[in-house]
């Protein structure tokens, strides 16, 4: 139904106190193939509402019979990661959106510089499988916190040898972005996935060293941040939706059974861009141009402002 994949949780592994890995298999038939860097949106049947979170597929794309995802428990979880950690067990059933890729490897790169922060390691696990198969040149730098957010670190160190470096913040180790980005050969592309601070750091250091934007690829791993509650009105039906502080506009629309196509749920892909005719908007996406923001917003991250009614062309 509605294009979702029905899967069964085949295995659960607690990798660190904060990170759990889930292996998912098709309930019937086969799972669709995916390319390295893809993610799926997991639909979680929490009481009272369906939670939807995007997770990277971390398995080898050549072995697509089973999907693997890893979930970090967020301290300020809006429910999704807590649900995955506390409610989901082997044998349980979940629904997924089919894989989509917004973080693919660049075909012209001759060296791939991969920078992961914490749970941002997940897309790179699929990518190094792909890069190893191609015999491509790459290096993986992993900023983490030992024993907490350093999932797969030992396995990666053994598998990649000199192509891997970990920086354990709890041991005082730091990834020096300027030193790393200053000495990369031409035809290098850099990919970063992790907390916003790391992504911003890589982008600004790269820009200051003369890296053009075309060489810098990033994927944010943040769910929509909460905001003020506000009211949205659907122009076609006149329906009014109260959007609470801890729900994104997209989630509120989904709960009201208003279908809005979405992919990244993080304000970068542009898929959910929606027209609005009036109301004050707090734009939080990294996709729309300033001029487009006058009549479009991305409900996955952006919100209406408290005290003003946001009228959507829906």
């Amino acid at each position: 139904m509605n294009g979702l994949l029905d899967v069964r949780v085949a295995a659960v592994r607690q990798l660190t106190p904060l990170v759990r890995e889930f292996t998912l298999e098709a309930e019937h038939g086969a799972l669709p193939g995916f390319s390295a860097g893809s993610h799926v949106v997991v639909h979680m049947p929490a009481p009272g509402r369906t939670l939807r979170n995007a997770y990277s597929l971390l398995g080898d794309p050549a072995e697509a019979q089973r999907y693997r995802i890893a979930v970090r428990l967020q301290e300020d979880s809006r429910g999704g990661s807590r649900f995955m950690h506390e409610q989901v067990n082997e044998g349980d059933r979940l629904q997924l959106s089919p894989p989509a890729n917004l973080f693919g490897l660049h075909s012209e790169a001759r060296h791939h510089l991969l920078i992961a922060g914490g749970i941002g390691i997940t897309p790179f696990l699929a990518q190094i499988a792909e890069l190893e198969r191609r015999g491509a040149s790459f290096a993986l730098h992993y900023a983490c916190r030992g024993g907490l957010t350093d999932a797969y670190r030992g396995e990666l160190a053994g598998r990649l040898g000199a192509r891997f470096a970990a920086y354990d913040a709890s041991a005082g180790e730091r990834l020096d972005l300027a030193a790393l980005l200053r000495s990369q050969p031409l035809a290098t592309h850099v990919y970063v996935c992790g907390p916003q601070r790391l992504i911003d750091g890589v982008r600004s250091v790269a820009a200051s060293l003369g890296w053009p934007q075309g060489r810098v690829h990033w994927e944010a791993f943040a769910a929509a941040a909460p905001g003020e509650p506000f009211v949205a009105e659907l122009a076609a039906s006149g329906r009014r939706l109260e959007v609470p502080a801890d729900l994104s506009l997209l989630e509120a629309l989904e709960q009201a059974d208003v279908a809005v196509p979405s992919l990244c749920r993080g304000g970068v892909c542009g898929q959910c861009a929606t027209r609005y005719s009036s109301g004050a908007v707090e734009h939080r996406d990294s996709f729309l141009a300033e001029a487009e923001r006058a009549w479009q917003l991305m409900p996955c991250v952006s919100r209406g402002c408290a005290g003003s009614t946001l009228v959507l062309d829906l």
Binding site: P185, L186, L209
Partner: protein, 186 residues
């Protein structure tokens, strides 16, 4: 048959009057003729802030760069450039000064070495350019003319402003559909 001049297209290269210069990064300058005014001016712009500029010239002498002389052959120039690019880090910018035949040849070499389009700046000096006959796939060198005859198949060609960055050439198409062959063939 008179060929109407064709208007500029999206693919037509536009050469900015001024190059953009980054504060950081390595600067490579490749010039076709060190003796032309454009080359001297470009070198002046690139070295105005005191940063080093690595120069490779095909011909001429550069009094503005310690009297450095051209290396004389395109093959040698390309080997030198490839050597520099093989040790260059990301952040390097390549500036090329010459006619379009020269500039786009260097452009393709640099792109194949891993530079992105936005890391290369071309400054046009001279009017020589390449024309690709879309009928027989022959490349020939032309000047400013807007029509000509293909040196291989003899078809009269209109020089379109449609430009292929891959070939480094403008497209030449048959100017007269009633005569899609060389005149003397009748």
């Amino acid at each position: 048959m008179s060929g109407e001049a064709t208007g500029a297209m999206l693919s037509t290269p536009v050469y900015a009057p001024e190059v953009s210069i980054l504060a950081s990064g390595r600067r490579l300058l490749v010039v076709q003729d060190a003796g032309v005014e454009e080359a001297a001016r470009l070198h002046g712009q690139l070295s105005a802030d005191g940063q080093a500029v690595e120069l490779i010239a095909l011909r001429g002498e550069a009094p503005w760069a310690g009297g450095q002389r051209g290396c004389g052959s395109t093959d040698l120039l390309e080997v030198r450039l490839l050597t520099l690019l093989s040790s260059a880090p990301v952040g390097t910018r390549l500036y090329v000064c010459g006619d379009e035949t020269f500039a786009w040849r260097i452009y393709r070499l640099a792109r194949n070495s891993g530079l992105l389009a936005e890391e290369i700046e071309l400054v046009k000096a001279g009017s020589q350019r390449e024309l690709y006959c879309v009928h027989c796939a022959t490349m020939q060198t032309i000047g400013r003319e807007t029509e000509t005859t293909c040196c291989h198949c003899g078809v009269q060609l209109l020089v379109r402003e449609h430009f292929s960055r891959r070939l480094g050439a403008y497209m030449g198409v048959c100017i007269n559909p009633d005569q899609p062959y060389a005149e003397n063939k009748a």
